[in-house]
């Protein structure tokens, strides 16, 4: 064994010259996360109150290089390992880690979502007698995985990033450790997540076996043989199933409702938005970069997944009486809409990618907002049951208005954000007049109508029905939660009224492959 190893590495090591600017967001997050841990270790209880602020500062500081890269990169992909320094931005890199406009948008999305999640968590964690400094360190670790994921163009870095996203999330799902439901949430999420990882690894090993390389662009070249073969199909199917668990696509969604209900609510928001987005990013990277020539295999499979996911998600959501579970199933259904563009990506992979990322950005704003309102309301009602939202207009009119905006957006009603996300999906689906695309568009349209029923039903509870216990005293909203609602309301409205703001950012040339 050791003999083999030595021959493997016997070639002279070429020390890469590192593009520090390109990896600055990840480095800041890593260093900042470590710093927060050290501060926590030195002063323990004395700095407990400061940890959430420090963590959110780390997220904001990490956002600075993302913005400067966006400003000076002029859309050109940069690699981590630039072998030839004379051709810096355009040319040669080893391809496992690529920074381009696509990954920068996603990094911005992940960092801002994480910032809002910290705002949502601050009061919840400090009032609940939990280990709170560890919670924020785990969030930082998980977000680091997401940043790496946006730039990964290699099976190994994708897998490592996916595990870095997931493992802290398994721990955090069981954070309310004296509550059996939270234990169940963590255990179910971990078991299903590990199961998904195993399937994913199996699929990846088949793809690697065919290509002899873990680089996505090498795999794309190796399987471009003009026809499909069983072993390639097997590899693709297993890989997509693995990601299907992470994005909670039906029939791999079974963990989602129980985990969402049992986990701490801020963490549920984190899972429903950031963690799901990370799964989609991995799926896009693999499908668009590694499988551009395998559309005849990938498209029908994702088509079926998308159609079942949106239909089953919406139908089950209709019958939920617990708002968090309803949002969980609504999240499953929304994942179906997000999958839809990937069912027709052949020839328009850039447009399909833009549509998915646009959806992810707008979905993050509206869904984080909805969870923020759930968290605020639970501070008064101590429950997430749908009936407990009755009469909210009487005691919290502003909050009711905000929730209505989020619900309209989730249902896709103009002028708030969600309609633009859906519009982009429909535009991609109907582009090219393909029967499969139009059929999926019809299914998505029918589903939007079904979804409108249960979204508007929540609004009805809040506006028209009396409060169940007759208690109409006002809610005191802590500043952090108020800021979270304000940010998400603004983002939801702006993305709907001025869709150009989002679509200018998500209008990429393409997902840059490594070489």
């Amino acid at each position: 064994m050791s003999g083999t190893f030595v021959t493997l590495v016997a070639a002279e090591i070429e020390r890469p010259s590192i593009d520090w600017h390109a990896i600055a967001p990840e480095l800041i997050l890593l260093g900042g996360g470590a710093l927060v841990t050290v501060i926590d270790l030195i002063w323990l209880e004395r700095v407990r109150k400061l940890i959430p602020t420090l963590t959110s500062l780390v997220f904001l500081v990490a956002l600075i290089p993302v913005i400067t890269l966006w400003a000076d990169g002029s859309g050109l992909p940069r690699g981590l390992w630039i072998i030839d320094e004379n051709v810096p931005a355009t040319g040669v890199w080893e391809g496992a880690f690529v920074v381009d406009n696509y990954s920068l948008v996603l990094k911005g999305l992940f960092l801002l979502s994480a910032y809002v999640i910290v705002l949502l968590s601050t009061n919840y964690m400090s009032e609940g007698d939990y280990y709170d400094s560890e919670y924020y360190q785990l969030i930082a670790a998980s977000v680091l995985g997401m940043l790496v994921m946006s730039s990964s163009r290699d099976l190994i870095s994708i897998f490592v990033a996916l595990e870095l996203v997931s493992i802290p999330a398994y721990l955090m799902a069981a954070w309310r450790k004296r509550d059996l439901k939270s234990n169940e949430a963590g255990l179910k999420y971990m078991l299903m997540g590990v199961f998904a990882s195993a399937i994913l690894l199996y699929g990846m090993s088949l793809l690697y076996g065919i290509a002899g390389s873990t680089l996505l662009s090498d795999i794309a070249a190796a399987i471009d043989i003009g026809e499909s073969r069983p072993v390639i199909t097997l590899g693709i199917v297993f890989t997509i199933i693995g990601f299907g668990f992470k994005v909670s696509a039906v029939p791999f969604h079974t963990w989602a409702p129980d985990t969402y209900e049992g986990a701490p609510t801020p963490l549920t928001a984190f899972l429903a938005v950031a963690s799901k987005a990370a799964g989609f990013v991995a799926l896009i990277n693999v499908v668009i970069v590694a499988l551009p020539t395998q559309a005849n295999v990938v498209e029908p499979f994702i088509w079926v997944l998308a159609a079942i996911t949106m239909t089953v998600g919406n139908l089950i959501a209709l019958r939920q009486t617990n708002l968090v579970r309803m949002l969980a199933y609504s999240g499953v259904a929304q994942a179906g809409y997000m999958l839809a563009p990937l069912a027709v990506y052949d020839g328009i992979s850039d447009r399909a990618t833009s549509a998915v990322v646009t959806y992810l950005v707008i979905y993050a704003a509206m869904n984080l907002g909805a969870f923020a309102v759930v968290i605020i309301a639970a501070r008064k009602t101590r429950s997430a049951e749908l009936s407990s939202y009755g009469g909210m207009f009487n005691y919290a009119p502003g909050l009711t208005l905000a929730m209505t905006i989020f619900l309209f957006s989730l249902a896709g009603i103009p002028p708030v954000g969600g309609w633009w996300a859906k519009f982009e999906v429909f535009r991609v689906l109907t582009e090219g007049n393909r029967t499969s695309g139009i059929a999926l568009a019809v299914i998505a349209a029918v589903n939007s109508v079904i979804a409108a029923f249960y979204y508007l039903n929540i609004a009805k509870q809040m506006w028209f029905l009396p409060s169940p216990d007759g208690d109409n005293s006002r809610i005191a909203i802590p500043p952090a939660l108020l800021a979270a609602v304000g940010l998400t309301v603004a983002a939801t409205i702006v993305s709907g009224v001025l869709p150009g703001v989002v679509s200018d950012m998500t209008d990429f040339v393409n997902v840059a492959a490594g070489q």
């Binding site: 020390r15 050290v38 076996g209 002899g212 072993v231 390639i232 199909t233 097997l234 295999v297 029908p300």
Partner: protein, 147 residues
């Protein structure tokens, strides 16, 4: 090692499987691929069913109270499923994993120390720092005390 060799052989098998495509000609390419995926799944279920089914046909079936009990390493299953074990052992196992992983990375690095040079040294210092942070965490939060 053996597993890797099998993987490397897959492209060769692919080539030899080529002529068989003719037999499936009336079915579209797309369906043929998914038939293979279906067969693969059916085989997985079929194998398990066959093993358990065959065993149930051939084995004598004389259940006694002792036989239908859950088997766990020969220990009598007494009491409820919720049994407590010392949390200390769990923590020490966890810390062991940390140092185990550290060793896995340090040995190959040490074997190639001179070639990797300063670059390798800096990388390894960063790696050890992050692991040491984990140990410092465990120490400071008091989990190393044998209460």
């Amino acid at each position: 090692m053996g597993v890797q060799q099998n993987v490397a052989q897959i492209p060769v098998d692919l080539g030899s499987a080529q002529p068989r495509a003719v037999a499936f000609a009336p079915v579209s390419d797309f369906l043929r691929e998914y038939i293979v995926v279906g067969l693969f799944g059916a085989l997985a279920f079929g194998l398990v069913a066959a093993f358990i089914g065959l065993a149930s046909i051939f084995r004598p079936d004389r259940p006694t109270a002792d036989k239908v009990e859950n088997y766990e390493s020969g220990v009598d299953p007494v009491g409820s499923g919720w049994s407590q074990s010392q949390i200390r052992y769990y923590i020490f196992a966890l810390l062991f994993v940390m140092f185990d992983v550290e060793a896995v990375f340090i040995f190959p690095w040490a074997a190639r120390l001179e070639d990797l040079g300063v670059f390798g040294l800096v990388e390894m210092v960063i790696f050890i720092f992050i692991l040491a942070l984990g140990l410092a965490y465990a120490w400071r939060k008091g989990v190393l005390r044998w209460v």
